[in-house]
Symmetry: C4
Subunit: 336 residues, 4 copies
């Protein structure tokens, strides 16, 4: 039982907490990502009629192996999820830790678990109930692409920024909808008699308006009257704004994220230098933080040196930096 | 009379001051947004000839009910507007509060009131004066889409940013106009003999120049001579600048807005912690502020904790945080 | 002579220093902008063969009057330029003020003066020397559009930003050139045998590469082979970077400009409040500064109030604000 | 030997350390850039069949001379590289300076050296081994464009920003890939029966999805069914996000770079003013720093004056600025 628990714990860490220094974790992650990638490529290639005819059995084999793999992965994740420490807050502390069953149910309702389930369930259903629409189920399999999200830490920042700016982005979307409706109606009025096949109704004109506002410009619907071209130009120029608005919103939010993470790094540097000595350990910790923020090593070094100089000058003392096996002393009275 | 006034006041709050916690307000807002949405969809679908023939009476009914609804809404808004506290400044204080009639006239001249009026007036005019051009009036009805602005608070930020940057955006527009004119003239000179149907005059060439500068590129007018293609490439590359300039301007402005609202939140956190205790009420207030700014709860919690730590360390005292029914003590001498 | 000098000085201010409160300045500016606008529209319309045939004499008259107008404007500007205070620095102080002739020569070599000269000179040359190529000279007239630059103050910020970022923008352009060359060569190798008419040489393939990289996509040259489509997709995705890079560069620069102008406004507010009183005059001056920066009045008021509160709290004194004929007292001990 | 060494050192500085004030360095740089430019233009023109036939010998001569030139340049760089001071860190100090051979080997493995080698090696191989595929080798010659990177200092900032944001940009690319796959599959399901030639398989539909997501919109594949157009519109609107995300990421990073370089300039100004005097030398040094950052002189002057005023006011002393041969005194008690 102790062994059993220790295996479960070991697997929990390997499956759920990606750790670059743990070989088991790296191997499992690479394996899962590899199976997903091969599977997706197979699904895409299978859609080519010639390939489907020639390599049908191979595609079926890949699908079968992948499904079994995803099923095992899903079951393992449900099994090990009880090792999760769970959220620590007043509510849970008051009512005690939930039971293993409760933990498992909560795990199974997480978005990522549902994605994991959807990854193999339709294919199994298809085998059990051959009467289902095969075509649609096949496409459902492409949702497996979402399983990749778990393995790309950098997506977190992007998703956070999109979440933070949801209100502004919704507002932009609403503005776009308003402009789209009005642009389509205007062109509908102007062009419907000349080109009834492209501007014969507002929904038809919306296809043009969408292509103009997003600056895609397919060229299948183009205003032909002079007034239509003038209105079309105005709409297209407004379209630039439709690209510029979300760019601006996201830029501001990214800037804010960068600034706050930069500030927390600076605070850590200041704290590490508070005792006048930057030990090897502290250097290592700061380096890891800087790396997580995507900082180049020379930028971090510069930040440390500047902070040390400031500290030395303000406290009229000497700061000792122990970096990369080399010790530097920065004196507060030196002429730099 | 007291009841009458209290109904008016009640309705004023429900109609003009959206409050998520007031069920009457939520119901009325949802109803108005719903009627507008159904009405807009009906207008768009009515423009499809087949639908107009098949469901004519239904569209007429929707229009009729909506118009009556918008009329009642307009009258109610005019009635309750006297409950508005009105701007408080030296001028109004000197001359006393305006009369109810004055308040109502001022209300009716507000942009949103005019939009409300335009939403139903043309349709009523059409019934009264059957000789008017029906087609044009029908399109006017689409301006009802602007009524939605009132119900999307997030549009305020976008409109503020656009207003703040009006000078820079106008400047960008002027640059675009200059580049457009010169590009069209250049291509007109180069291509007019080869493609008189697309570049036969400067206004014609402007249609191409607009599509190139905005990177839409419909493909109906394309330079064919070598010199024309070289010039066209230069214009298109300048077109990237035409997209980049407003993006940059808006990004800067959004960044500025975000920074100032963030700073005012930080000031509120600092103020709330001034007495060394963050009460449940203060936490609630900060949480609402953070929510209005679109902040994730964890970001706010981090901000509060960092500020508390700084406060504790600077004043060598203990800060007490009372958050989510859980009390935390942060000591200024602890090693974090 | 005194009258003569005073007229010149009056005219100098009206012509060269736009002042919204001076009616002469406003009338002259509006007149110049109006003549330029009418003239440009006439040139553009004249390029339409039908219009040129029908309204030839009218266009000639507009051209004649405009040219005489621009000539007089040019001569007046040369005449009044001696009123310019000129740059004040050590060099000019040492050698004394330059003579009037020197000042006029320097004025005539300024970019804006050359634009003014080019605006009417070709048309006059054309009358004097009828043997010149009429067509080309006609197009030269469109450079009059640059005369508008003088009247749009907001262009200054845009031009400054573009100038500040000239190095980064040049770098972006170089990257684009490298990607363009390599993309064109790759597609030339892959597609030349299949579509010799569109990818038969590298310069031909560059036309496609340019349309793909700038996301214009005319659709006249499209890769057809599978390898060509894959390479084309990669190039197009790199094209997004070509739009994103200058957007990012300009956004950063606009942000920096906004921040520094905001900071100088904050410094002015702090300075105005240093004596604990914000007089009517100081309010007026701050309001004008804020307006120049495109700030909404409520944003400025908020900034003033926040600064006053901070000042009051820090110095434990009372700050008096005299704004819009209303006097507010902010006490440092009040509970806000 | 001393002369030999001094020639090598002289050449090292001229070749590897571009210095605007050293005429030898400027001449050599211009010569190399010139040869690369002529060579690239020749390669591009040679791809036009008519030109290749008419000017074959000329293109051969240009190629021959360039290759010999690049060979000599390469050999010279290998020869002089031993003058490089090399990285100074604890590791190299411990084991002493490497030998000349070691230095040369390390130099030859640098990316820029490999680019230099690839620039002429294929052409020489082609002469030695006439059996190789000529066509492919000819295209390889275009990689010479990378030799230009050495001469454009401004590319450093761009490459640093791209490197700093590699994680976020990879994340964006992953999101794009997911959206691309799902969009292509959706349109494949909807349109495959109507347009099997454009949407007959997922890879085919991907070509459309790529053009829609990047807002290129060639117009060769366009959804035709109503459902296809609705889905296509959603994909296209998501495409705006695909442009906005990298713009936002790069904007944030450029902003951060600009801010940190601005801050280090401000620190230098503060330091230079610490003794209350800004000497001619210090002014010169600050001016050079400002120029490297792309600052306009007036912006720098303003920064210096503001800092001087602040310093004067805080220390109640007088600050002396010695700029451009002119001495200014700023007193801390002035009422400015």
């Amino acid at each position: 039982m102790a062994l059993f628990g220790s295996v479960r714990q070991r697997l929990y860490h390997a499956l759920e907490q990606y750790d670059r220094t743990d070989p088991v974790s790296v191997v499992i992650s690479s394996l899962v990502v590899g199976v997903i990638a091969i599977n997706l490529i197979a699904i895409i290639l299978e859609s080519i009629p010639a390939y489907a005819a020639a390599y049908g059995p191979t595609f079926f084999l890949i699908e079968l192996v992948s499904c079994i793999f995803f099923l095992i992965e899903y079951l393992l994740r449900v099994w090990v999820c009880v090792e999760s420490p769970g959220p620590v807050n007043a509510a849970t502390q008051a009512q005690g830790q939930p039971s293993n069953l409760g933990k498992r149910l909560r795990h199974m309702l997480k978005p990522m678990s549902i994605i994991d389930l959807v990854a193999f369930l339709p294919s199994i259903l298809q085998v059990l109930m051959p009467g289902l629409d095969l075509r649609f189920l096949r496409i459902l399999r492409l949702f497996r692409v979402f399983k990749l999200i778990r393995y790309f830490a950098s997506l977190d920042i992007l998703l956070n920024v999109l979440y933070d700016e949801r209100k502004n982005l919704t507002g932009t979307f609403l503005i776009m909808l308003i402009v789209l409706t009005l642009a389509a109606s205007a062109l509908y009025v102007v062009e419907r008699d000349v080109q009834p096949e492209a501007f014969g109704s507002i929904p038809q004109a919306m296809w043009w308006a969408m292509a103009a506002l997003t600056t895609v410009g397919y060229g299948d619907a183009i205003p032909m009257t002079t007034l239509g071209k003038i209105l079309g130009s105005v709409v297209t120029i407004l379209g630039i704004g439709m690209v510029a608005l979300p760019s601006g919103i996201l830029a501001a939010s990214f800037s804010d994220q960068l600034r706050s993470s930069r500030r927390s790094l600076e605070a850590s540097v200041t704290e590490a230098l508070e005792d006048g000595i930057l030990t090897q350990d502290e250097t290592e910790r700061l380096r890891r933080m800087g790396n997580d923020l995507g900082l180049r090593p020379e930028t971090l070094n510069e930040l440390i040196e500047n902070t040390a100089q400031l500290k030395a000058r303000q406290s009229h003392s000497t700061v000792v930096l122990d970096m990369d096996g080399q010790t530097t002393q920065i004196s507060g009275n030196g002429n730099e």
